[in-house]
Symmetry: C2
Subunit: 327 residues, 2 copies
DNA sequence: TTGAAAGCGGTACCAC
DNA sequence: GTGGTACCGCTTTCAA
């Protein structure tokens, strides 16, 4: 790990100026073939690797987007594979969104810088990452409003699946209301439930929307929303993660799903495909959310004074066995 | 998106020099509380976001690791979710390794920069990413030897699951030989196969090791390794991806698995949990491979003159239904 | 405790 | 077509 060669070293070795070295890489046509060859040969011989920091500083762009990764799950201690049996920790919602972001960014020549949104001080992480990239994707429940504004003033920011409190911020959301409505109607009309309980704290915009839809459908059907004390006909969980946890708990208590009680999730995680029973849920188009996020970022970069965009994606009821439908 | 405030702006607003601003953030104890407050207030008021490019240039480190992502699958066109039904495209081997890398890196305060290894010119991508980070993780089958050496001369590099051709490069491998041996022995001893065919090109070190083990076990048992023309008792695939493709093809031809023929994979993808039939395979500890990769990188950074490390991980036979064992 | 100033490694404008 | 050079924004040594 000797000191890395720089443009200066390459220039000297090739007997040209650093400007010529720079041009050789940025606009090869502007430099005479013979000179170009000499520069490239010198670069190769020295093992020249351009410093992105220097370039970024000079041009003011980094050709990369940042992603503040938010997991929301306590990372498993111990051997991951064992703890993850049943796909409980991977892949989750974020991973699939991230994959969409990555592919979309790569297609446009951007790299992705992923920072830890589960760190104790997310705001610091966010500012740190923001300082390195040309645009930032935020996942739900992340930053303090002040940090958010601070970052958004510097680079384009898109918030995935959190209604934009501030209309100046780009956002991607999903149709939580429609998804939850479809789900609960299915339970009412097909499985004739007489009561239901909503499981999970409605503490983000997404979840509040889901809970509201849940409550509305029950009201329309004149059915009661029971609290945890009673055993309802159905537990409607705010996320798949909640639902999977509940399945485990119910099994421990000897309560059968779906025979004794119905359980449903929301998100469409892979784990719901292999759970016992398989999980009825509402599937979000996670990959596409990620792709759209990059799209908005690129739009803002192409035209910084364009207005903020807000896109809403449809979701899809996925009927499986935990609601009593055939597996 | 006005011009971003810099240390100069903050210094001016706070009535101090840029050195003091810098110290306020890097060594707060070195500056008098009153001064510190003034600087922080100014920074907050201006919405100061430090430029990582400038810092990186100044200190020569970026506190980030690079990952050249290699998928090996043709990215699905069209709506991803539909194409990915059955988890065929996500999550794959790389995704789980990546997750391990990310978590491990974050734990040590490093961000992860992910670049596209499926791009037409991987070498260029690699050099580009290498110029931005303090260490690089390479996934299988990636770079030309020249590029590899060039990059490795500049920053620590660890190659995941590719035997280190060059002993100077850190590497993580898995015990392909043992895994394949266990698998084929299972087929011979439990399912009494009389013949088998290896499916998939043995074009990397990993796969060559698997094929060698496959052949050796058959030889010891005095059994023939048939080529594709004949129908063997078992198709032993070099990867799960190959096996899943084969399952689809066989179903199309009306051939039943495992009744008519056995099919096995290698890797332990999630898709094998929900395939019809579920897939007998050999599971790699992907997450742990990622964690180990970061570990090696950190070791080299802590002591640049320490010798290259090579770690080999055990794998585990995962018996499911496609070999004829009970589902 | 604070400030002045010299880099860090590129880019790109302006001369020649 | 090529070279000289002034930045880009931050860190860090050295003096005050």
């Amino acid at each position: 790990m000797a000191r890395s060669p720089t443009v200066y070293d390459v220039a000297q070795a090739a007997g040209v100026s650093i400007a010529t070295v720079s041009f050789t890489f940025s606009r090869p046509s502007r430099v005479r073939p013979a000179t170009r060859e000499a520069v490239l040969a010198a670069a190769r011989a020295l093992g020249y690797v351009p410093s992105a920091s220097a370039r970024g500083l000079a041009v003011g762009r980094t050709k990369s987007f940042g992603l503040i990764f938010w997991d929301g799950s306590t990372p498993p201690p111990g051997p991951f594979d064992e703890v993850n049996a049943g796909l409980r920790h991977f892949p989750r919602w974020v991973h699939e969104v991230q994959y969409g972001i990555e592919r979309a960014a790569w297609r446009h020549g951007y790299a992705i810088m992923v920072g830890d949104g589960d760190a104790t001080d997310v705001d610091t992480t966010a500012v740190d990452i923001a300082g390195r990239v040309d645009g930032l994707v935020l996942l739900p429940r992340m930053l303090s409003p002040e940090t958010l504004m601070r970052v958004a003033e510097r680079i384009p920011v898109v918030s995935v699946t959190e209604g934009a409190a501030d209309p100046h911020l780009n956002s991607i959301t999903v149709d939580n209301r429609q998804g939850m409505t479809d789900l609960v109607r299915h339970l009412v009309e097909v499985h004739h439930i007489r009561s239901a309980t909503f499981v999970g704290a409605p503490d983000t915009a997404d979840y509040r929307a889901r809970f509201a839809a849940f409550r509305d459908v029950l009201e329309q059907a004149a059915l009661p929303a029971l609290d945890d004390a009673d055993r309802p006909d159905a537990y409607v969980c705010r996320t798949d993660a909640d639902a999977l946890d509940l399945l485990t708990e119910l099994r421990g208590r000897g309560i059968r799903v779906p025979e004794d009680v119905i359980v449903t999730g929301f998100d469409g995680l892979a784990a719901g495909l292999i759970s016992q029973p398989t999980l009825t849920s509402v599937r979000q188009p996670m990959y596409d959310l990620g792709v759209a996020a990059v799209d908005l970022l690129l739009n803002r970069i192409a035209d910084p004074r364009s207005p903020a965009e807000h896109r809403r994606f449809p979701v899809e009821l996925t009927v499986r066995h935990s609601c009593g439908c055939p597996a």
